[in-house]
Structure formats: structure tokens, C-alpha cells
Symmetry: C2
Subunit: 709 residues, 2 copies
Amino acid sequence: MKSSIFYNAHHSPVGAFASFTLGFRGPKGGLGLELDGPANESVYIGIEDREESGQFHALPFYGGAENAAHDFDSEHLSELAVAQAILPFAEEEIERRMSASIDEWRAGDLTFRLISPVRSVPDPEQEDAKGALTPAVLAELTIDNRSGKLPRRAFLGYKGSERSAGMRILDQLGLIGVGQGTSTAIATMDSDVYAGLAWQPESILSPHLHENLSFMLGSLGLLVATVEPGEKRTFQFAIGFFRDGVATSGIPTQYLYRRWFDQVEEVLIHALTHADKTIALAESFDRALAQDMTPERHFMLAHAIRSYFGSTQLLEREDGRPLWVVHEGEYRMMNTFDLTVDQAFFELGLSPWTVRNVLDLYVERYSYQDRVRFPGNPNSQPGGIAFTHDMGVANNFSRPGYSGYEQAGLHGCFSYMSGEELMNWVLTAGLYLKRTGDQNWAESHRNTFLACLQSLENRDHPEPAKRNGLIGLDADRCLGGAEITTYDSLDASLGQARNNLYLGVKAWAAYLVLGYLFDNLSDPEAANRARVQAHRASETITNSADQDAFLPAVIGEGVDARIIPAIEALVYPFVIGIETEPFHELNRTLTRHFKAVMDSGICRFGDGGWRLSSTSRNSWLSKIYLCQFVAERILKEAPDVHADKAHVQWLLDPENAYYAWSDQMLEGKAVGSRYYPRGVTAALWKSHSVDPLQDLTKLLAGAMTELNA
Amino acid sequence: MKSSIFYNAHHSPVGAFASFTLGFRGPKGGLGLELDGPANESVYIGIEDREESGQFHALPFYGGAENAAHDFDSEHLSELAVAQAILPFAEEEIERRMSASIDEWRAGDLTFRLISPVRSVPDPEQEDAKGALTPAVLAELTIDNRSGKLPRRAFLGYKGSERSAGMRILDQLGLIGVGQGTSTAIATMDSDVYAGLAWQPESILSPHLHENLSFMLGSLGLLVATVEPGEKRTFQFAIGFFRDGVATSGIPTQYLYRRWFDQVEEVLIHALTHADKTIALAESFDRALAQDMTPERHFMLAHAIRSYFGSTQLLEREDGRPLWVVHEGEYRMMNTFDLTVDQAFFELGLSPWTVRNVLDLYVERYSYQDRVRFPGNPNSQPGGIAFTHDMGVANNFSRPGYSGYEQAGLHGCFSYMSGEELMNWVLTAGLYLKRTGDQNWAESHRNTFLACLQSLENRDHPEPAKRNGLIGLDADRCLGGAEITTYDSLDASLGQARNNLYLGVKAWAAYLVLGYLFDNLSDPEAANRARVQAHRASETITNSADQDAFLPAVIGEGVDARIIPAIEALVYPFVIGIETEPFHELNRTLTRHFKAVMDSGICRFGDGGWRLSSTSRNSWLSKIYLCQFVAERILKEAPDVHADKAHVQWLLDPENAYYAWSDQMLEGKAVGSRYYPRGVTAALWKSHSVDPLQDLTKLLAGAMTELNA
């Protein structure tokens, strides 16, 4: 895999909705808190020249040299301005090695590592979670001056882009650091380092007078260390985030880490004090991750995990209960359910309690009852429980029973997704029970399961005899519009919910999972009802294949687009381990469909990347990853190595690389769902046994267990 | 006064470091919290067309119509986008009437008033301050549809520019509003108004379905009211600000309003509930302000008062004590002492306790002891107490004894101002005592006064016999550099502290004020010591006049620039009422100097505006206002009406008008000190008696008293 190394990647603590984003050239990364994209600030990482004292080389993550003195001193009388003395390293001098926990840059005699271990989120109601939830990432700056003849300085710093506060030098005893206001900071406990503020990094690196380092008007802060000739030294830093006060509206919360930390200084000290363990954890995880993966898949998975962590937010409600949120990348919708279900495989390996937390909040606040209608018919029919698309947007929880996204009266993007989100609750619940065996939880939701079954049946057809297993009616809330699937931005082939092939297979899976849930609850009657529906769905789908084995994207409505995600929902019974032998015909039909769309090339782009719908230029990487897993493990197809290479190139395209991991690719260009958490569907690639959730648990919680042993 | 009405002005509560800035064309104002300039967001204020239903006219404070749907829906399948239906009013249709408390816009049948009364800040340790410190401003939208034939909608809203949170609809019972995160919001309690979120204002004004108004992905929020034909109605709104958690570093504080308010909703309700009194207060103050002023002076003073309020921040320390901060406009330095002393006339009329609060914190944390040196001489001499330039920058308090600004080793901008800030403490203390007669306070600072006298003497010359009343030595902290005056960005004529003419007169005034303070404390010996120094200064200055009556800017150092601020410090003995008859020769000399520099035209720009130094193109409006007062009241010069007109044009220049009130003008262009609080020196124009502080107290606290009576 030979590609540009200059792509942004998240480096994030768990649950802080924070990201130190770095890797795209220019002032395009930095310390972002609760943002919908990179912070776009300069980051300074560099080293003094080996021969020429006072000349420096830096990684190319900063803007041109600025001198803000003229805003104060319009006649340019100031003696503060100094000559530029930092050059970016030449690109060919720079190497990068990124995995999920460690991102390492080498250039000349400089090595810079960012360390943010992939680690599970301990349930704060059960375990000591302070270490895992410290809102900081670590950095290491290593200077190899063993062959140098001069002492050489090295530096790390940033120019904060937050509008409401200035830069400062930390004054906590034992901590040497720079920060912006009370919300972000970088610090070390290494007393050989000094801190400074200025308008130009050169003023801190080579201060005319050491006394002037606390120049609080300075727009940037730097930490500077010196390494003597003949020495090689590593300096450790923590990059901390902190949000005080009420964090969200709608449901008032604060960040859960406020239980242990009252200010960013405490965060930094804790992170630095426990750095060795954190680094060991990071190294251990990255070793495990790299095993048995192609470089392409390893890159995409590591990258995706980073973007996922950057979107996580662990809050505490006023009554002390934790509240887990994953923000939807650039859109920042909260716990968007179609992401929850896709991310569940990864999250259940990592921290199953967060999945339960989201499922419970959906029942508590983001479920609703409505009726349903046939298209074009103003009379409504009994419906039942449904779930919202999301829980709000960008730190504002939506009102109970409503998402931030769904709108009435529409037939496309932004319409309701009642039917599919209902399935998503069922599917996620099934995955959770499979992973945890949490029988008490299942028992507590017995009525919810029953309500879900009833609602799904009602959305098929009011008369049992006329049911075909698919979604046949639209939610009343659409007010004459039509429900859509969660593939909202694709064309009608994946957009319309009614009689949708993708959603039909998902309905089949949801009924099977309901059967599994009711078996667990010893309710054979309900289980049977669910399986009857699964058979209906299976039959409807199987019967819709044409003579060439193609399945239409919308069954019986003349939409002949061909779609890969027909196979997507096969994943659920497989992962849960539900017997699907009675549905071998469905499996056979979907396999033939899949082969047909792939072999004919209609679901491929020119570069070999997968095209989810033959009639749309828009393709989503997270879903491609998921369907690749289904194709390989369930349909027994060989891995599409050529496609993997194309997908990597999409992410690394210079127009896309700024957004870290992105999902929606329009012929390879990231046009939406950028800076996005959903790519962790790729974690399924790490499973090779019949119990993927166990495989992922071993991988994701394994490093921790190993270290604790 | 006929000029463009499209200039930004602050509309700010007291002590919230917040501003609803409005008036410059385009998305260049909005709800700013703790910012160094306008928030740069769209504000929507408009009314439906009289004839054509569904077409609207708005004030020109928003950007082009945006549709963010494409970020979600790259294939443009969404039905959400609607046609543009808002046109800006033509400029000639719009009228504006701005005073200090009320800013009124009229266009067609729309009247929009922003109400933020000039009111004193009650001492929260003594009085009920909740009403005065509610962090909100009021707005009124009046629609005159008496001659209309159709119902007409009107609207008010904004597109928040805060990066960390989305827009939301408020869900507090009784409140109809839109906000961004937990920090800003606009709301009404008028139940005839509805709220909505969208990407386009049209989607809220003419919603396809009312159900879709809570579209939380929307980037803007609007409040919409309807007025029936034949009716004229006024709708009241509050625009609220709220900052939760720890507000500052260095000294941990929270906003003092947190005593009464836990969220912005509570702020809005309180503001709306007490709107009538607030409006009466505003109207009463504006009536008083307009009396006996030219339109030019009225405009400049009103404008300056607004910018002052936008920079004020009332905090509460951890022990419950209030802490008053005025941020320095675009620089956001905190309680910059050279601003404190200039703003003291206004502030002492308004809220004398805030002046005391700042003086006390200067003694407690921002004073220091150092030694002094003759230029070029490495040996130091006894010095004494001095005060820092400021207390930190942009919500970060600096460490004790240090400012954010002052740097060692310099000879110009950013060097130390030890001598002048020492005088500033003395002068402000004298003004405070004059205004309040607070003998207890004076007694508690007896030792500080003595230390100030000693330090001033030592900075003149170590040997009493060689003292000339001026600053002769530089602070040790300069480390070989030289102290500067607080006219830091002008040329050497006003820059260098040693033997500076401006600072010489200020030293004379400071010694006189020390005499006044010691008289009050019945310490005739110290009073005498101070007066001896005053005589020395007077003599030195008087003797330096050349044959043409000009005084050199730097005495005895060959700097022949001519400066207006030679007369500035005459203001202190005059305002305090100190007898200056013994110094009639100084007065005569300064009068002749002033006449010479003005009559010769060397201290005027081409447009008639005042040029503070004959050798600098940079002139500061706040200081011009102050010197105008001195010229008129003390030197008995006629008001320079022609100059007033030029100064107004500086502020309204299209290149400057974005920054609201600005101070530093380089040949009429605002090049620094923009969005700045210092212009309230103009308040002195409102005094016509021999006791300006009493005049200002009557004006500034008068409206309140009148209403409470």
C-alpha cells in the first residue's frame, strides 16, 4: 500500500467528544472539542537543524508565519517580530506509520508518536473507569541526537482556534504546559521542558529573553525541550480536553469525567502519571490488530476506529446515570440509530453496556406510538411502537419521541424511518443479548419485544392473511409522505422503505431475531409468530428474482435498480448464530443476486470500488465493509482485494483526506458523512470463527486483559 | 449629521461580556459571547410584503440564501429546499435612530428596537443586583398593518456561529424561542409567536407543514408572528447569553449572574417579565443623554458607551467576592490600567464600587516591587511599588505581579509601563475618593499611598536634590530596555516614558492627587512631600517651553515632536477639585502650547480631526475626547465642532464601521483598538459644572433614581 501519508486522523480519548486531529497538510488539524470537523489550527512539531543552530524543521501542519503585532502596533514600532527560522520537512523525508492506537511520524532525527489506545469503556456503574475515561491523549517526541555535534531543541505546540478564550501557560505545580482557556491544553511533567506563548514559534524557541515567554497576547503556545549531542531522549506529553458546566440541552447532563476531574490540569496530570500503562495498552492492541490483515484492511479499520472514538461522548444525567452518545461525524446527530446498529458489532466487542445504554434510552425517551397508512390512502390502520432516527443534534437532545432529522410530508431524504429504526432496535437488542446473555435485561424488555413484533406485523399489512413479511405501510407521521430507508441519500432504489429489497431482508432478519429473543424468554407463541413472518419475507424475496437471478431493488414496483445491500441483513442471524437452514433458498437467491450484480460489473465503479446501487453514484464505505463481510463469511466469496485498494484510494484522495474517515463517496469523492464514526463495521473483518462477537471481544478487550494479567 | 446608518453597534447587558452586535451590512453581527469582534453571523429581521403574500423584506444583516441539504443529500434528492422569498429592504427605505440605550430601525411598516439601558451596576454585596445583571437585551418588533389588506408575518432570528453546539428550539414552558446550545437564545413569552429551525428562513416563514418546524439540523432559528390587516402590534423578545462553569483561569471564577440563573431560559424569562421597567429606564436615560449635545457628540458618546458595556464582565471568585473586569476590546486584555483610568470618570458616575474593586485587585495581586535604573547604567537604585499594565488576556488571569502585555528588553511597544501605571493607580484612587468620600477605604490604603509616593520619588532621582518631578529612571524589569508610556503605539514622542512631557504633566497631577489623599488622611508631611514634587514637575515643564511657546514631547532629549496630550492630565486636579492656582504658570504654559499646536495646524489632519502627535499618523479618539474636555473646560477653548464632524466620519468610514467604536485611527482608518471600550471619556462632555463626577452621577444613575421615585 503506497499512498500519500498526509491524511487527517483522529487521536481521541473515549467519551470526550474530542479529537486531536492531525495529518493533513497545513493548519488543518488541532485540538477540537465537540466539532463537526477538524479544528483548523496550526500544530507545531519540530526539531532544530543538525548543523545550523537556530534553524528548525517541522512537520507540515501549520500555517504561514504570522505576526499579529501589527494589530497592536500599527506603525510597526515593535521590536517583537523575529525572522522565520522554521522550514517544513521535505515530504520525502517524512514517514508515517498509523495503526488504531499509535500514529507515528518520523522525519530526520525526530520521531513523534501520538498514543490513544483502543480500549473498552468500563461501565461506570460497575467498575473504576477513571483511567479509561481520562479526556486526554498522549504524545511522545523522541530526538535522536546521538550523531549530532550541537545541542538541539525540539518542540510541540499549537495555536488554539477557540473564539472565546486566549492562550495561556499552565500554572499548576509540576506541570509544564500551554492551553487555551479552560478547555484544551498540552503539558508535560518533564522539568527539562519549558513553555512559552508568542505570535511566532521562533520567539519561543529562541527567546531574546526568557522572561518574555509568558506573553499572553501570543496566539500560540509551544513546549520546548533540548537534547545534548550524543543523546537520544524521549519527552512525554498529554493533550487534554475539558468541558465544564451543563453539556447538553433537552436532557441536562455533564461529562461523566467531571466525576473525577475539575479542570484540565487534573486531566493532564492523571494522563501523564499513567502514561506507561497507556502506552503498553496501545502497543499491545496495535500488535493484535495487525495480525492476519492486508495493509489495506488494516489501514481502513484503524482509521475508522479513530473516527469512531472522536465521536463518542459519555455524559452523566442529573440523577447520576451515565448516558452514552455517539455523534454522527460532521452531522453530529446523536445516537443515530442506523449507525448504532452498524457500530454494534464493534461496540459489543468493546463495551456492551454502552449498547444497552442506547437501547434503553430509545425505549425510555425516543420511542413513540403511531398508526400507519397505505400509500395514497388517507385512512390510518393500527401501527404500534417505533423508534426515532436519532436523539438530537450537536449537544441538543430532541424532545421525547422525536428525532432531529425526521420531517413530515416528504418522500425522500429527511422523511421518517419508523419501520427500519424499529428493526434496528430489535436487531441491536438481539446482538446485545447474544454477546452478554443478559437475561435480566431481556426480561425487563419482554413487553417491548412483543410491541415490536406487533408493530412490525402491522406495518406489513393489517390483515394477517395478506402479509408478505415486508414493510407495506407508511407511518402516519409522514402525513402523506412516505417512509424511507436509512440509505437516505441514495436514489429511490435504496430510498423508499415500502417493499424495499434491502429492508425486506432486514425485516426477515428482524423477525428471526425476535424469534431468538422470544425463545430466550420462553415465549414459543410469539417466537412462532415472528418466524411465520420471517418465512413470508423470505418467500416474497425469493419469488421476486428475475430470470437472470437479479432481485429488484423495490419489489413489485418496477424499480429495477440492482443493489448490493440486499445481502446486508444476512449478517444478523449469522452473528447471533441463528439457524438459517430453513431459509437456504433465500440464501441461495441472495448469493445468486450478489454474484450477478458483481460479475456483471453493474455494482462496481471504474476503479473496482463497490457501487451499492447500480443507479446511484453514491456509495457508502461502512456498508461496503459490512457487505464484504457477508459476502466472504456467509456467501463464501473470496475477498475482493482489488476493491479494497480502490476504497483506500477513496479515503486518501487529496480532496477527501482532510475529513479523516468518511462514509459517503460519490464516485470516490467524499460528499457527505465525512469525519464519520460508522466505518467500524470493518471490525468484522477481524472475525474468522462462527462467533464474531466473541472474536471482537477478544480483540477489543484482549489487550486490557493481557496487561492486567 | 448625515452619514451612513450601516455601522455595527453593541447591544449588551452589563457584566456578561456579551454583545448582540448589529448594524453593518451582511452577516457581520449577531450574538457574541466573550469575542474579540462581531460574531459574524446572519441576523434575520423582516416583514411580509404588503401586497404579495409569501414575499418578505428584511434588514440587510444576513448572508446569501444557503441550503445545507447538499451536505446530507449529495444527489439533491431532498424536497426540503424552497425558493428564496426574502429581499433586503432598499437602503433608502431604512432609517436608524441610535442612542446609548435604544437603537431603532424603521423600514416600511416595520419598526425594530433594541433596548439595552445604560444603567448602573449595583454592588452585589450591598444591593439587589439581579435585574441590572440579567444577561439579556430586549428587542421589540412592531408591525404597522393598519393600512394593510392582508395578514402579514414578521420575524426575528439568527444563524448561530458557535462551533460546539447546534441550534435548538427552547422547550421551557411559557417561552417561545430559539437558541444555540446552552449559551445564546432569543425568545418571547407572546404565545402568538411560533419558533422554527431550518436551513432557509423561508422554510420557517411558510412551512410546508407546521410539524417540520423542529428540524434540528437547521442552521438557523426564527421566531415568527402574524399581524392581521388593520392592526398594529408590537412583539417583545429577549436576547439572552449564558456561560456556565468556570469562566476564567488563573483566578477561578464564575459569572456572577450564576447566583440567580442556572440556564439561559431563566435569564430570558426574567428579562421578559421585567421588560416594561427596562424599557422605561432606557427611554429615560436616552432623553437625558440627548440634552444639550450636538448630534456628533451625542452619536460618539452613545456609541462609545455601547462598546464599553459589551466589554464588561462581572465575575464571582470562589470565596464569593465579586470581580469586575473590562476587557480591552479586540485585544481582550483584562482591566488594562490605562483604560481603567480613562474610563474612571464614566464608571464613577455609573458604579463607583467597580472602580474600587479594580483598584483593590491591583493592590492584592497586580502590584509588584522592583528597583530602577538610569538608562545605560547596569546598577540599580531603590524603586518601590508599581502596577501591571493589565490582569491577563481573554479570560486568562495572568500570574500575580505580571501583566499579559509587558515584555523585557524592549524600548517600544510591549515594554513595561511601571511608572505610568503607578500614576494611574494614584489618579484613579483620587477620583474614587472624590466621588465616594469613602474614608474607610482610603484609610485601608494609607500604606499603599505612602508606597506610591516613595516609588514615584525614587523613579525621579535617587537623590532628592536632583529630582525634577518627572520619570528619570526605568524599571529594573525592563532588563536594559526602557519604560514606555501607555501611548504605546504612537511614535517616540509619546512612547518613551523618561522625561516625557505628557507623563510629566501626569506626574504633576499624580503628586497633587497624592497631596489630596494625604490631606484626607491628615498626613501633612506626606502631603507636603508630594506637593514639593508637583512643584518640581511644574517647573521642569514650564522651563522647557521654547520661544514659540512649544513644549518638546520629550524634555531635554531633542525630541521636538509636538503633542496634544501635554494637556491631558490637567483633567485630574480639575475633576477632583484640587486648587491649582499655585500652578498658574504651568497652566499658562500648557495653554500656550496647546494654542500653538492647534493654531499652527501641526496637530490636525487634513479633515480637521485632531492629531495627537505632530510626528505620528496614529491618533486615538478616546484621548482626543479627553483633551477636548480639558481644552474646553480648563483652557477655555471653544468646542472644535469641525473636528467633531471629522471624528464622526472616522467611525462611520465603511472600512471602520464594522468594528463598532474604535480608538486608534491611522489617518482616519481604524488600525487597532477596534471594538473598544475606552471611548467613554466622551462622557465628560456631559459635565458643565465644577464637579464633573457629580454631573456624571446625576446623568448615569439619574434615570434609575427617577424611575424608582
